[in-house]
Amino acid sequence: MKMRVLLPLLFAAAGALLPGLVGSTLLMTLLTQAVINAMLATGVGFMVRQNGMVSFGHAGFFGLAAYIVALCTTNHVVTAEFAVLLAVALPMLLAFLLGLAILRIAGVAFSMLTLAVAQSFYELMLRWRELANGDDGMAAELPPRLFGAGIAVFQTPESMFLVCWAALMVVLAGLWLLSRSHFGTLTIAIRENEERARFIGYETLLPRALVYALSAGIAALAGVMFALYNAFVTPDVLYWSLSGEALVMAVIGGTKAIWGPALGAVIFFLFKDVAGDLTEHWPAIIGGTLIVVTVLLPRGASGSLLALVERLGVRR
């Protein structure tokens, strides 16, 4: 029982030691990007785990957040700190309202709607050149200090890795606590059997919309980190391929464990890097791997890992 708390703590601490151990800035850059993507994948995976629904449009919330940070800081409409808050809160609100409208729609149709909404943001940013330079992208004019820290903290791979890593650990811990709460049980119940949930006396749409909002908020947080780190955004952050990648990460990692999608993101990133070095056809390799993973390891890397641990535990 203690291991359930101790092991994650040890893991979180080990991750924090990485910048000191890894000598290469290139690798640190890669790892920082991986953690940002892990955050995005965590959002997508949480939706699958808690709502049983597949969003194909989480890049919409990710990119929206990145653009809010860039637009607000560059045009100095609000303080940068407030811009960051806004960049998380607005996508959450949007997802909540959108969820009330489209969560009743089941299966693939829902996924297609989320895709359509995200693509409409993409088109908007692409075509409205006066707002954000279309596909040339825009630089974010970040202030010298943010939340009391020098802006360099957010733009140097070693320190930004720590910021993103800490954020990811906090989000994972929060989701873990949430999954063990009444809300966690209720949303699993609704995912399993929405009709019976109503017949035992629960309203079901509101909890589902809240899960959607939360999952969008996590994607938005990833978008904020992306914008701070790169200080530059292009419509690509809203493109469907990013939503697709996030989904692939979640599938590779498995969604039964809350940390599964994050693990999937790291695997995906390292794999993409290695495969990218070897061949230009890495997307095909990713695709092939995905097929192998879903067939051989239907519960993803995290599911297989847990099964392995369980088996070892029983033997001992």
Binding site: H182, E192, R198
Partner: protein, 236 residues
């Protein structure tokens, strides 16, 4: 005679051009265990659905303890004191037995989850995933989800479906005891006549979406129209 707790009037439900329920009126008195019988396709489940607020449009009014609940949805009817179980097991597979009984208790703001699990012999299974327990256990879990949270009226749609004869009779005896102990009024659909005769104080017979007869079990059993209805269909 005790007061009427559940009253349906002129209940009608149509699927396309087919009337599954045709102007049915039913009154259930407090403390009663009313049996609802009839051949396959008679409309028994449809009547339970209409009373509990499940599914598509229907006509007629439903009153619970004198209050018109026709306009309420399933959730609101449950919170008003009307609970139901399902003919096809309708549970939460990925939750543990204990988690879902507590969840149901919490919705109704009751603290009797432990008591209900104890009474239905589910307590030893509390930490098991519902999808992993046996069929018989799942049937009792389905019942527990309806029974927990002190409903005043319980609609049971073949709670013993798929159980062995012995299991059915045990369940029936248990139901009778619990209904009395917790003062729940019960409307129960059941094919097994042994179960019906063991626990029901009166019977309503449905046939082709209409009420055929009503009365005490001994009388209903020998009524010629009931015998014909059953013989005319392929029911065992």
């Amino acid at each position: 005679m005790s007061e009427i707790v559940l009253e349906g009037t002129g209940l009608t439900r149509q699927y396309g051009g087919f009337r599954a329920l045709d102007d049915v009126s039913i009154m259930v008195r407090r403390g009663e265990i009313r049996g609802l019988i009839g051949p396959n396709g008679a409309g028994k489940s449809t009547l339970i659905d209409v009373l509990s607020g499940r599914g598509a449009f229907s006509r007629g009014t439903v009153k619970l303890e004198g209050r018109d609940i026709s306009g309420l949805n399933a959730r609101q009817r449950r919170l008003a004191g009307l609970a139901r179980s399902f003919q096809r097991t309708n549970i939460f597979g990925d939750l543990t037995v204990g988690e879902q009984v507590h969840l149901a208790a919490r919705a109704a703001e009751a603290e009797n989850a432990g008591e209900v699990m104890e009474a239905l012999a589910l307590a030893p299974l509390a930490d098991r995933r519902a999808a992993d327990v046996s069929y018989g256990d799942q049937r009792r879990l389905d019942l527990a989800l309806a029974l927990v949270g002190r409903p005043r009226v319980l609609l049971l749609d073949e709670p013993a479906a798929g159980l062995t004869m012995q299991e059915s009779l045990t369940l029936a005896a248990l139901l009778r005891d619990l209904a009395q102990r917790w003062q729940v009024t019960v409307l129960i659909v059941e094919h097994d006549m042994d179960v019906i005769f063991a626990i029901c104080s009166s019977l309503t017979v449905l046939h082709l979406g209409r009420i055929l007869v009503e009365g005490p079990p001994e009388q209903v059993r020998v009524m010629p129209e009931v015998v014909t209805a059953y013989l005319g269909s392929s029911v065992a």
